[in-house]
Symmetry: D2
């Protein structure tokens, strides 16, 4: 529980932003999957601070080291322990956090729950914690590369502040997304969004947005009724990410305005496959993948850390004024993309193994 | 997994819409909680079909029977098994489902995954499955009645089709909600919504909507970083409900349009309590309850079963025309209210016990 | 936890000896396994009281009813709920248990832990609880019947009091065992054991013993390092049975007297299979089945309920004299055989599905 | 599963004997428990090779490093990651293991299950894996030091080969045990056992034995019916240790020869406590601790690695002759003591938190 995700493909993460490091132990991964540190590093690089001018200038190299579970370049079927040593720690930059509760941060709730917290850089509540998730998701991606090579996950920023990307999910290409620093589906709009982010940063403020994710080539049959529906586990995974405030799949919140006759996805047969003409279901029906694209969106609130002065209270219950000094992102969205992708892979990997357990391989 | 929800307060549900019955086994409930069938029946009655003119006319009494775990009117600390015998089954009304895949239902995905399905009335995919959830949630409500009496959950319909209730969540009263058949926060608007539902039903069509839930009096400190954040488990619980397509907490999807300086919840001290002036966080910060109202919303798609003729395919891959004959809801929202409430209680109960395990009772 | 066993093949049991009934919910069973009540009844009959003159004369028919998870004679892949209604309850026969703590029973510990207990007939601590285990194990047996038909489990009584069966485990036949009321490997010795049991019963006393179990045809590769070794999960399953006090596999406690050079199982090749010449490992090496017979033993203490007068204390802390009036077994061993067998099937089924999840079916 | 032990106090271990290192992540530990590396090192030193002349001369310093979960000398309530870097690796010493299956080792079963294995020094099957267990158990010991200071665990070697210690469990003192290299209850007998071990080692052979464990001061009420009885979880923990072949609690296997009238533990009242005059139950009744000493024994087979030549087969199915060259223990028993103790603490810690979750703190 708590710091472990998944039942069969299990990721346990650990680590605070300040301290020895952060890492993950992946248990349950099938054996004989090719794996090396260089396979994980690109995903960690997509997550790390300092990767572009619109994210936090903290420069963390985030070099990972595989400590176990791999031998001769392949997974052993035993736990894969991977970690990243902490560097560039400047605890003094966070000294005010020792006593102050930053608004819309977890300082107060951690203190109230645990009676203690690592206040340096947010400790366990720092986004640095997501390194473990990215490690786990990246290994899952390698697993699918061997076992279901047709499966792909394309994740991009759909919205920043009030600016919404116009391109349909089905047409978004991963290469396009990764070619611009916002991870926006098209380059032209991206340039505008970069300017928006820079402007808001210069104002000492921050932005929120929406990440969208499209899973293509998912086998039919993943997901388990009734509690572990595929969309339920995706929702849990996404809502466990720092700063996420909402999740929707397929037609989502806007679909509630339709009538059933408009909303229903008509079945037809294409070749030997049962397909649907529309995809308001978002690739999942009755909690189980139906072979169409799985499409979902995750809302992220504007970053809580801002440079402007804010009123708050300290741990002694006194009213105080806070002005954050640490380096931070004006908009977490570009870096949220690899986090959403990692959680998607974790959910898919777990359900893939679960399906294989109960059903065998007769179907695929 | 799959049919079990929770780690410490655990509910395992079972049953198909047709067959012996449906039920739940609740494990982990503390001992000495007063409990009888009459405590559970009101919640089951709020869920059952035939309770008002705007829901399905199927008349299922849904009388529950407690088979174990209670002695002398109190829980024993052993598993509480409760069930409802199936009645009023008319499998012939569903004969077309034997071979046809109803659009936006789970017929196809179940058949593809399991190679077999109970096609009578939807089997395990029927909303009848939620009886087990309501049983589990209702027992959790009794538990809180003993252990945290100040905690209350108020759940209501925020939106049907394009009609949105205007009342703020903080002002909604449970008695008001339960006094009208739509479970709408105010009676006047409710009458209009009833008319809308009746009109759409007469057109052989269906409606979706949004349920909102407010938890008051929740202890500070529930929820566990990093994967089992309170909002993550709420999201999972809600997205595991039939027909749900979206979840948001606090400011949710609309909050992404704000700047950080607007969105942040300023702390202040009231008496001895740390409070926030706004509640865009929705009562949860860093995955842990902060003592404010927990406020979240769940989107439900329009009911997939409609009386109008629809194109689809059958299990042999032939294109066919389907016209549903079973009795069904034109709008699931009023009956979704007790389901959302049940899942909220399940999540809260589990996290309450988890918090008690790790922290002891020193704090409360 | 607690009342659920297994990770993928999961059995949740419920029920007290007095109350509505006892039962089990089996989740995770593969679909399309032929299953009917008549398949389960023989195993329940082997467990039930009143089956022969050497067990308790309580006559409980223990007729099971399948409530869900089966359709058209086959499993659906959804939870299988099975129960047995309680009958022949004579709570007045147990009136002294309301206040007295029976020696070497769970009356005191339940009262101390829960502050409440169903004292009628032992409640949840009654051996009647094992009905749920037998249901779960019997369904697992059917699963293997379809998926690994060569796998068989032979369970028998190795020892009663000081009398030890002489036959080697490898030569014991199930038909022979089930042909005598003690479930002893050979008929001649069995007659003597029957006389011993009858004599001890007439003295108002009771006997313990050892059950031995041999699994033949188990696939190579079941079991997972490091905590969920096959023998660890077998040990847990067996030590969770009422009255069990010890578990050993292969050479067990007597093997510790050997030197390594005597104890090691030499490998050789037979056809295409790697085999061992001896089997002190008991069919498991490094926690994983090696294809040899899995052989283990379980010690059961003498039945705690005896007709003789005993000194004890009551719930008010007063010294009292107790003379049990209920009907009870003088020796639980014959009825322990189907319980041990059920737990063996539960462990094997869970590990079979777990192996299938991580490894796929490439190997078998 | 698999590499994680416990539900609430959870230990996930990782690492092979050769590779980056071995370690553990402890999740669920209560916050504000004083903890530093120097607290863990003594237990690791009791486990490590090279600590005395009767164990393997491999000299592994096994210095641990805490990477997360501790701040200002106290636990944070977040995951505690601790590791030991691998040193003194001489993979060439194990070159024969690349192709040969060592008798009564896990080489064959790992190869058969996973299709790959780290053959250097046994990889994941090496006793080096138990470092993670000792770390987890040692942290649990610290937790009890704060929360239940009266609880103590005394573990010692009861038997080596055919030599059995005479002292009653109740009289064994931890200081006495730790004062001699065999961890034997009394010093005089210990000297003989040392000579036995040295003689067998000089013969190129190995010995087995029995470890006994006594838990004093355990709160009443730990353990959960029906599957997670305290003795069931102890059995699982112990039988998951490398080389263990048997587990018994209280009267164990020898108790089966008694009559019920001899075996039953008579209750009496001492002060305000309900006590038993004898302790054949071994401190657990109905799966729940009764406040008496918890006493259990674990059988360990003779070490499989011996210097003598042995017949076996290689991975190509050819008959070969094997003579082990690695440095190894002639008798694992002295080093098994801290392993047994660690598993005992893990089980107790988990059940302590579980009890606290369901029952609150009203009782203690």
């Amino acid at each position: 529980m708590a710091n472990t995700f998944g039942h069969l493909y299990r990721v346990t993460t650990w680590g605070e932003s300040h301290g020895g490091g952060v890492g993950a132990v992946v248990d349950g991964c099938p054996p004989r999957i090719p794996l090396a540190e260089k396979d994980l590093q690109p995903d960690l690089d997509r997550r790390r601070p300092g990767q572009s001018k619109i994210v936090t200038p903290r420069n963390e190299a985030d070099r990972c080291e595989i400590l176990s579970g791999v031998f001769g370049g392949k997974t052993l079927g035993t736990p894969i322990s991977v970690w990243v040593r902490n560097q560039d720690a400047r605890p003094e930059a966070y000294r005010e956090m020792e006593t102050m509760f930053r608004p819309s941060h977890a300082d107060y709730t951690y203190q109230a729950k645990y009676g203690i917290r690592n206040w340096q850089g947010g400790g366990r509540t720092s986004a640095r914690e997501t390194i473990g998730r990215v490690i786990g998701g990246s290994i899952a991606k390698r697993m699918f590369g061997q076992l279901v090579p047709r499966l792909s996950v394309t994740t991009f920023v759909r919205q920043v502040g009030s600016v919404v990307a116009r391109m349909e999910a089905g047409r978004v290409e991963r290469s396009e997304v990764e070619a611009n620093p916002v991870r926006w589906p098209d380059a032209k709009e991206a340039a505008q969004v970069v300017r928006l982010i820079e402007r808001v940063r210069s104002e000492g403020d921050s932005l929120g947005g929406v990440v969208e994710c499209v899973v293509r080539g998912c086998p039919v049959g993943l997901g388990e009724p009734v509690f572990d529906r595929l969309e339920a586990d995706l929702a849990k995974g996404m809502m466990s990410l720092p700063a996420s405030k909402g999740f929707e799949i397929g037609s989502g919140f806007s679909g509630v305005r339709m009538r059933g006759s408009e909303h229903n996805d008509e079945f037809f047969v294409q070749g030997k496959k049962v397909r649907t003409r529309t995809n308001r279901s978002g690739g999942v029906q009755g909690g189980i993948s139906n072979g169409e694209e799985i499409v979902f969106r995750v809302a992220f609130k504007p970053v809580a850390t801002i440079s402007r002065s804010q009123k708050t209270v300290n741990s002694k219950g006194k009213a105080v004024e806070l002005r954050a000094r640490g380096r931070h992102d004006p908009c977490v969205l570009p870096r949220a993309v690899p986090m959403v992708e990692a959680m998607a892979f974790l959910v898919l990997a777990d359900h893939y193994l679960r399906d294989r357990a109960q059903m065998g391989l007769s179907r695929k």
